[in-house]
């Protein structure tokens, strides 16, 4: 599994990806999704394996990096670290920042490694199952992936579905792939090739975040001093080992579900840690179990999310949607054939994720103090620089200034979407899955000779449709209970 990694170039890529991921994770507002999108154009100079290793190491390290900011300044560096704030910061305020970060580092590493093992075992099994899939099954699977959007984040399920439908709509811009008829191009030649993924993702994540930061300029972060990261004590291990293992399992499972990701995983991991704890009253006041529950789960979601991404071509999270785009633009088509034809490529990715988890443990343990200083870079300097990189990165992919304008448009749109409670993640996943949904639907209709009811005669497709209904009903019932349907 590790053999493809024994080259100085790949190790260098892995090292850079881990360090870059940590920096992105530490900076509030950035994170592995935005960072992955920003670096995607640069990967064009790399071979496919190096490019994907770079993206996956950013994913693993970026997910962990969010914990450093969550513990020290009570602001999650990434959304997946939101639950870590609940106990990480109170513990740091008690003068135990080193202990809090030590627990976060150990549980993240265990969660991450656990999820790689899940990935190694389950991705080939899922890929084998996918051999049974025809166009109707893929359509039903994509629908299942889209309905899972309803339950992501803590936003409204209906708003998430609107955003997902909008994402699919964006994928229809340009020439229809079956008939070459122009759709939504309005005579603009550049639009006939469609709207690229990079301008949309950089706009929705980086530029909209820049606009959000422009509204938060008076926000002052109080940083807790950190002397050194401390490994958990024997007592801490005794208290948390069950929580770490449980959250690793929860995170891996949540990660495997299409469209879900670290944020959902960490919230469930945290609440389950509280439910099983002997001292639930300590939660929210600096409980090491709380930190372990959230961190093991969000890092375990990284490997889990790679399972449907590699085995089926259905992104398991927003960041894996970026990785999936990376695979596609490098000419690698995820799915069962990838497992049969390029196993060494996959083992390279698995090995890289394993090493990235070990590397971020080392960097986090010895370098958290340095990474924490990155949060001191003022927004008034940081964001103009990110803008310059965003613009050049977006331009570089197809050397089109229209792409830059599209990026700015989606930046403004993303800002208002977030302001009014629409998550931008479903747009990205809708955009990624759009072609698959439409293509498989239209081909299925041809196969079924226009008889839509034939979908129900296919057992696998029917199972996915039933799962889709459950996926739709569950968040609606939950939201109705919490009165958060809109």
């Amino acid at each position: 599994m590790m053999a493809p990694l024994f080259s100085s170039k790949l190790l260098l890529v892995l090292l850079f990806g881990t360090l870059f991921g940590l920096v992105l994770g530490v900076l509030p507002g950035l994170g592995p999704t935005t960072g992955g999108a920003l670096i995607l154009p640069f990967t064009m100079t790399l071979d496919p394996l190096s490019a994907i290793i770079l993206l996956t190491s950013i994913y693993c390290a970026g997910t962990y990096g969010g914990a450093i900011t969550a513990v020290l300044i009570n602001t999650p560096g990434t959304p997946a670290a939101a639950a870590t704030c609940l106990d990480g910061y109170p513990l740091a305020q008690k003068g135990e920042a080193g202990r809090a970060l030590g627990m976060a580092t150990v549980s993240s590493t265990v969660g991450g490694i656990f999820s790689v093992i899940v990935l190694v075992f389950f991705a080939p099994i899922l890929a084998n199952l996918a051999y049974e899939f025809g166009q109707p099954e893929y359509f039903a699977l994509a629908i299942f992936g889209l309905t899972m959007l309803a339950s992501i984040g803590d936003g409204s399920p209906i708003k998430n579905l609107i955003a997902g439908a909008f994402g699919i709509l964006i994928s229809t811009v340009g020439k229809d792939f079956m008939t070459s008829i122009d759709r939504f191009t309005y005579g603009i030649n550049e639009l006939s090739v469609g709207i690229g993924f990079i301008p949309v993702v950089v706009g929705l994540f980086a530029i909209s975040e820049m606009l959000t930061q422009s509204t938060l300029l008076d926000q002052v972060f109080k940083r807790v001093a950190l002397k050194a990261v401390k490994l958990p004590t024997k007592d801490d291990y005794k208290k948390t080992w069950k929580t770490i293992l449980r959250s690793s399992g929860i995170g891996s499972f949540i990660g495997v579900l299409p469209a879900e990701g670290g944020t959902v995983a960490s919230l469930i991991g945290y609440s389950e840690a509280k439910r099983f704890s002997k001292n639930p009253e300590e939660f929210g006041k600096g409980s090491v179990e709380g930190i372990a529950g959230a961190e093991a789960a969000n890092n375990a979601a990284t490997g889990g999310a790679m399972v449907p991404t590699l085995a089926l071509g259905i992104p398991g999270s927003a960041t894996t949607a970026v990785i999936l785009t990376g695979l596609i633009i490098h000419g690698v088509r995820p799915g069962p054939d990838l497992f049969k034809e390029q196993p060494e490529f996959l083992y390279g990715i698995f090995g890289a994720m394993l090493v990235a988890n070990i590397l971020f443990f080392i960097f986090g343990f010895f370098g958290a103090k340095i990474f924490a200083r990155i949060t001191l870079v003022p927004n008034k300097i940081l964001w103009p620089m990110i803008f310059a990189v965003s613009v050049c990165g977006t331009y570089s992919l197809s050397q089109s200034i229209i792409d830059v304008w599209i990026m700015l448009f989606f930046g403004v749109l993303g800002f208002f979407m977030r302001r009014y409670g629409f998550s931008v993640v479903p747009v990205i996943i809708g955009l990624i899955l759009g072609e698959l949904v439409e293509g498989t639907l239209r081909q299925s209709i041809v196969i079924f000779d226009g008889n839509w009811l034939m979908f129900l005669t296919r057992p696998i497709a029917l199972t996915f449709f039933i799962l889709s209904l459950i996926a739709l009903a569950f968040p609606l019932i939950r939201s109705k209970k919490n009165k958060k349907i809109i």
């Binding site: 064009m44 709509l169 229809d176 759709r183 964001w383 103009p384 331009y395 570089s396 302001r419 239209r442």
Partner: protein, 168 residues
């Protein structure tokens, strides 16, 4: 507790057309309807060549879905109005203006000049007054980015008054 909730939901006291939920509903419905109308002007495949559905059918279905879902969230907002958002601060509008300036300058003068102008504009209005840092974000960093993209990635940027000095 109830007082806090009432204050957050103060949006309810406004006339319906000033309420956030109406503005969002109206914007989505308007844009979706315009797009839906435009789908009727898409070319169609002659029946003899048509396999499956027409190219306009799928986007039409999506737009109808968006309209229906938006109507549902608007209907539900009568029972539970959205909370009123804080007014946007001045730096937000200045950042939007800087985007407009970026588009105008990149189209008419120069791509990198546009990046420099936006960077210095945003940095200054976000509160940076130190000359070194203004120079860093407006000249030094864009120069580093240019060199990186041009020399390492071999990218050719669009011509302009500054970029031409390098290319010619």
């Amino acid at each position: 507790m109830n007082n806090v909730r009432d204050k957050k939901r103060a949006n309810k006291s406004l006339p319906f057309f000033f309420r956030t939920e109406f503005k969002v509903f109206f914007t989505i419905i308007l844009v979706s309807t315009i797009l839906l109308i435009s789908t009727f002007s898409f070319d169609t495949v002659p029946p003899i060549l048509n396999r499956g559905i027409q190219p306009a059918t799928f986007p039409k279905g999506l737009l109808v879905l968006i309209i229906v879902l938006t109507s549902i969230i608007y209907y539900l907002s009568f029972k539970r109005p959205w909370k009123k958002e804080k007014n946007l601060p001045k730096p937000f509008f200045l950042t939007i203006i800087s985007f407009v300036l970026f588009i105008i300058i990149s189209k008419t003068l120069d791509f990198f000049l546009a990046i420099s102008v936006l960077s210095v504009f945003v940095s200054y209005y976000w509160g940076e007054r130190r000359i070194f840092y203004l120079l860093l974000v407006s000249i030094i960093f864009p120069l580093v980015v240019f060199i990186f993209f041009e020399m390492i990635l071999g990218l050719r940027f669009p011509p302009g008054i500054i970029t031409n000095l390098y290319y010619y």
